[in-house]
Amino acid sequence: MELALPQLNFMTIMPEIVLSVVAMALLLVNVLVKSEEKAYLGYLSLAGLVGALFTVPWGEKISGFGEMVIQDNFSSFFTVIFILCAVMTILISDGYFKKEGCNHGELYPLILFATVGMMFMAKATDLMTVFLGLEVLSVALYVLAGFNRDNIKSNEAGLKYFLLGCFSTGFLLYGMALIYGATGTTKIVRIAAMASGNGAVANNMMFLVGMLLMATGFSFKIAAAPFHMWTPDVYEGAPTPITAFMSAGPKAAGFAAFLRVFIIALPTLTVQWSDLLWILAVLTMTTGNIIALSQDNIKRMLAYSSIAHAGYALVGFTAHNASGVSGILFYLLSYTFMNIGAFAIIVIIGKKGEANNNVQDYAGLGVKRPVLALCLSIFLFSLAGIPPTAGFIGKFYLFAGAVQEGYIWLAIIGVLNSAASVYYYLRVMVFMYMKNPEEDFSWVKLTPAVMLCILIAVAGVLIPGIIPNSVLNLAAISLPLP
């Protein structure tokens, strides 16, 4: 009997291999490094991330491991987002964790493993790989959320995220099981082929219920209302750099898998899922923005704002045309810059124990530290979607996509929401520039690493905001088409 060896194509997962090897090596090196010198592990992991960035191919479409993963422009675009997200998080981590007195070296390998999980989610062409990538990401994130183990809030965040994350995984898996049962395969391309070639499959109740359960599971991961309940608590309790990481990377990864599975595997149910996403988008935008209006804690406010931003991205997903989907890609990239940039500033303004994370604590920042206040204003303007920032361009394409597909009301609700959101972003600026300083911000220490992170973020917000064409063109050739 002849044994047919499947074609593996290790090239398709080169960035993941590099990062996993670096992360495992770092776990070993960690034992030898003294506690106050853990920053070296950060430098090594940055080197690993940059190395992985150079192995990301562009313009090729190769499938590997028996159609388990695919390397295409879509996955490359997201891989770049994840690497940027990890790099910026690591840059702001060292100072923070030293200040909080929990400078454990495991932080960096965990961030790298989470990044690997996200990359697999963006590459997955099989429900099994989606699930595995999601779990590699989630298990690392549960630990990261509870990383400051002497801090009760961090404990709470970790435990809450863990319980609700597992719960949502159960729904996602049940959906996958039903879709497997209805079509007899877990490969997303073959699911589509089975459903389109066979009316009995497409009209099978199990197939529809499977789609709904998977949508529930993914909605948990991207923090879409009404499955957003964990977000504010986890974002508030988790260490601030980890909150930055969680709000940008895993959300993008969730969207990557969500987009690929729904657009490629379930085109026969397009009518049903775009109606569902319409409702989710409206609920998510409105809930996020309305509750954010009354938040005093700035981390919690950004958590609700991140829920609202998932809603904007869902507007593009509802339309799922070229403009909408490339809008999502562009938006998730610029959201990474603006959100991590804002969190970088929260990290350095924060005192030990995250004592002063309220909006009132930013009073007079514009007088005492004008450059920092200016940078934070740029990020907040971008989050609010005011030109000439990347946030505006992204929102423009998302809503344009919705209008092209005839979802006029959805676009109108989106724009109204976006207008409401300006209130709570501007409120921070009012405190920064129009209130008298109560403190002298003498504890604010700008290390070169944090400065580099803020610089990358400002460049990432302003350059695509002023000359958006190059990034938009990249997004336009990265659509997840079958």
Partner: protein, 100 residues
């Protein structure tokens, strides 16, 4: 003779019991056990379909689900121990420092 439907109904019931348990029970460890029950209900679905369709993919999936569940258990129990050290309770009513 047991048919596919029996297995699907059983796994549906198990999944619902698990989901209800997560929503109703107050002890974090019991909640976690309920989540495990949900995952095992999914495993049963996969196995039943795999047997019915004569396709091995479902059984492979089950192996991955079990592995991941084991990893989740390790991480989850560690998180509960860290929480217990600080609060001396693993009742979810006590996970209440952060509110709207």
């Amino acid at each position: 003779m047991l048919s596919l439907h029996h297995y699907l109904i059983l796994s549906g019931i198990l999944f619902s019991i698990g989901a209800m348990g997560v929503l109703i029970r107050r002890n974090a460890i019991v909640i976690f056990m309920c989540v495990e029950l949900m995952l095992n209900a999914v495993n049963l679905t996969f196995i039943a379909f795999s047997r019915y369709l004569g396709n091995i993919d479902g059984q492979i999936f089950v192996f991955f689900v079990m592995t991941v569940a084991a990893a989740e258990a390790a991480v989850g129990l560690a998180l509960m121990i860290a929480f217990y050290k600080n609060r001396e309770s693993i009742d979810v009513e006590d996970i209440n420092l952060m509110k709207l």
